[in-house]
Amino acid sequence: MFQYIIRRILIAIPVLFGVTVFTFFVINMAPGNPVDMYVNPSATPQQIALAKEQLGLNDPLWVQYGHWLGQLFQGNLGFSYSTREPVTSMLIERLGPTLLLMGTSLIVAYLIAIPLGILSATRQYSWIDYLTTGFSFLGVSIPHFFLGLGAIYIFASKLELLPTGGMNTLGGTTGFGDTFFHMILPVLVLATGIAGNMVRYVRSSMIDVLGKDYLRTARAKGLRNFIVTNKHALRNALIPIITIIGMDIPLLIGGAVVTEQVFQWPGLGQLTIQSIGSRDYSALMALNLIAAIAVLVSNLLTDVVYSIVDPRIKYE
């Protein structure tokens, strides 16, 4: 197992390298460059030429990439082209809010989705099943921005119960409670989408397992239905569910671009949009790198968890 993990990590290195090469050249192929956003309207052509030179944008692409990679090996992600701030500190500032928002949303979503999925599978074709599948269908198909704006309209504008956006109240009392209030709406929106997706997988996976012979055997042995469902059946239904969780984890880091925008949540998603708009190459490279690492790590974790849940899966 340990060897397997080491091997996977070693394979990840060339993959990451490939990802950085690919993204670097793709980003640079996008029309326009950071200087276009960087100079003021009365700037002289000489000023623009100078700014390009100063930012190193006149060097050939492979030189620019080599420079970036060299900096990376020294643990330096470079400076943002648009704010001239170290990219590392920009990311750290954004990572906390994103982890908080997405982590909470995922937990809330799973706490809703897994019991609901089981319930709906064990009572197939009952009114509760129809209700659950109906709601999950809605959760998946309503776009986040719409749900978000709707929630703002009802809970913030009309009922004035919750704040419209942001993460803290300015100048007033801040702290756990305040952030919690600001989180309710975005978490609600995100959790609806994630749970809607999850419920359907839990339900179908459970239905599949519930029909298996060994469960009939278990019931025939006289085991209580509750144990049969939640211990024997759920465990075997977990494999596809873990796969979905593994696919959700990178969202933690990638941030919810749309939802963060709607609720003015100061996370990585918002940073991504801004960086694309200003062609901030160094920030985009760093964001891509982090996203790639998150995907690789969560894939690895998923595989490891498989072997724990299902002892039949072994890695040499």
Partner: protein, 542 residues
């Protein structure tokens, strides 16, 4: 089997525990304290849409950052109405021969750490801006100075501007290459170049200056407010500089709150903000105009501005000036203003709005006349089978909607139009490459009439490829003419020439909605000199 099951259960439990711990840690970490505030201290919140990129006073081309910086850093002068300059950090900027200029600093001026702001700080700042290694957006502003090139830079290896010297502790003298209109110097240097503290930044290498922590969190400043915190995309927090040389600010805590445009009105209504920043960085949308006018706790006004939206013609693909004029006759600009701006817009043909004293008022805007447009196109032998490539930037809803009206107007006179939208960096690239026939783009230039960046061949925004020797010549004359009256004549000639050549047409200049809470007894956004008297801004006592 049982063992593994227990183990895995344990691991799952640990995982859940771990995740909830993480979220708890972040919750507490993000909480923090909101800073101390005494009762009776006044606090003002200003709503803004665009987030400032940095606080580097010599390298911030975005208006949002320039606005945020002015709370902390003073310029030499401020312009309170068109070409009317009031003293701020400097008591005066004077010249006797339009070539040797003297800046007299306010002797009482002090940095927030108590040190005097002296002539040495000014010389240090100018030399730093002119240093070829320094990243700066105000290089062009210094370009008329002796020894500097078009980007306002010294030749490589040199670090001091010739002719720039301190006369005494509070007086600086500099020389320009040729005589220059004093108003140009007062606007471009007096109100736009901000002095940096030498004693804080003298050891920073010029090529590392833009990345210095000072430019992200300035700790020694000259203005009425001191920097406290910038929470990205949420708010900028300031506290008053009680030893400010122009008087102690009346409001203790100042916040710029960053939010999407639709939230401005809701927050004005609820009293969460006392005003919008307006003027391109905190605009209330025109759909909200009626709503905000009805608010009982807010005074609303509509102000003119110098910014304008243009339609550029590619003079390489639409060669005939008559065709370009015909296009203008075909466009119903009044409809754009009435429908999209609720009537709150100004129609001019050239780049100067009625706020600008250089506007030639004898030029009447070309009227909407589709029949004349059709006739002109026929007379010019326009090829009606040619599809016009119409390029529109995204990001400004009104401009996107205006593109639909324009496309419909052009189709109505028989011109085939294909509209494509791109994000702004792509527009810049398409523009430079001349990959368009007509293109929409907006500008907010200086009040100074020199618009070489738009009209001169090779100018940064001359995507039109406009190159008429008469125009080039007049632009040069206008730039180097020190006498204001003669300058006006030159720019009148230019405006008439542009009307004839029609390389670019101004579609409209959108007016700005300014909403200020009735609790504010002094202060609020203005077309000129908003932040001139920040220290006197005040709120009703509760």
């Amino acid at each position: 089997m049982d063992y593994i099951q227990k183990k895995s259960k344990k691991m799952m439990k640990q995982l859940v525990l771990f995740l909830s711990l993480i979220s708890l840690v972040f919750l507490t970490a993000c909480g923090g304290s909101g800073g101390s505030s005494n009762k009776g201290d006044k606090t003002m919140y200003i709503g803004m849409v665009n987030p400032p990129a940095s606080f580097n006073p010599i390298n911030s081309s975005d208006i949002a950052a320039q606005y945020a910086e002015r709370f902390m850093f003073d310029s030499f002068l401020d312009m309170t109405s068109a070409l009317e300059f009031k003293p701020k950090l400097a008591d005066s900027i004077d010249t006797t021969d339009n070539q040797t200029y003297t800046i007299k600093l306010n002797p009482k001026a002090k940095w927030s750490d108590g040190q005097s702001i002296t002539a040495d700080d000014v010389v240090f700042t100018f030399n730093l801006i002119a240093n070829p290694k320094t990243e700066t957006h105000v290089g062009g502003n210094l370009s008329p100075l002796q020894g500097l090139d078009g980007a306002g830079k010294l030749p490589a290896g040199q670090t001091t501007i010739p002719g720039l010297k301190t006369v005494d502790e509070h007086t600086v003298e500099f020389k320009t290459q040729k005589p220059v209109d004093p108003n140009y110097v007062k606007e471009m240097i007096g109100t736009k170049v901000i002095t940096l503290p030498e004693h804080v930044l003298k050891d920073v290498a010029p090529d590392k200056l833009a990345e210095d922590p000072f430019m992200i969190k300035p700790n020694v400043t000259s203005g009425p407010y001191k920097f406290v915190k910038y929470s990205k995309n949420q708010y900028v927090q300031y506290v008053s500089n009680d030893k400010y040389y122009l008087g102690k600010p009346k409001i203790k805590n100042m916040y710029i709150k960053i939010m999407p445009a639709p939230n401005l009105v809701a927050q004005l209504q609820s009293g969460e903000i006392q005003m919008n920043a307006s003027f391109g960085i905190g605009d209330i949308t025109f759909q909200d105009l009626d709503t905000v006018k009805k608010l009982s706790n807010v005074n609303t006004s509509v102000e003119k501005q110098i910014g304008f939206q243009t339609m550029q013609f590619n003079t390489k693909t639409i060669k005939d000036a008559k065709v370009r004029q015909a296009f203008v006759y075909a466009i119903n600009r009044q409809q754009i203003v009435d429908k999209l701006l609720k009537g709150q817009g100004e129609i001019v043909d050239g780049p100067y709005t009625s706020l600008n004293p250089y506007l030639d008022k004898s030029i009447k805007p070309i009227p909407y006349d589709p029949n004349k447009a059709k006739q002109m196109l026929k007379d010019a032998g326009f090829d009606f089978n040619k599809t016009i490539n119409f390029v529109v930037p995204i990001g400004n809803k009104i401009r996107e909607d205006s593109a639909n009206i324009i496309a419909e107007n052009l189709k109505a006179v028989g011109v085939k139009v294909k509209t494509t939208t791109y994000d702004f960096p792509t527009i810049m690239q398409k523009g430079k490459a001349g990959d368009f026939d007509i293109l929409l783009i907006g500008f907010t230039m200086n009040l100074d009439p020199d618009l070489s960046s738009l009209y001169a061949p090779g100018g940064t925004y001359n995507f039109m490829g406009y190159d008429n020797p008469e125009n080039t010549d007049l632009l040069k004359q206008g730039k180097s003419e020190p006498d204001a009256t003669k300058r006006k004549e030159i720019y009148n000639k230019l405006q008439n020439l542009w009307e004839k050549d029609m390389p670019v047409i101004t579609l409209y200049s959108m007016k700005e909605i300014v909403a200020v809470s009735k609790n504010v007894t002094h202060g609020g956004p203005k077309p000129f000199g908003t932040q001139y008297d920040l220290q006197d801004w005040d709120l009703k006592s509760k």
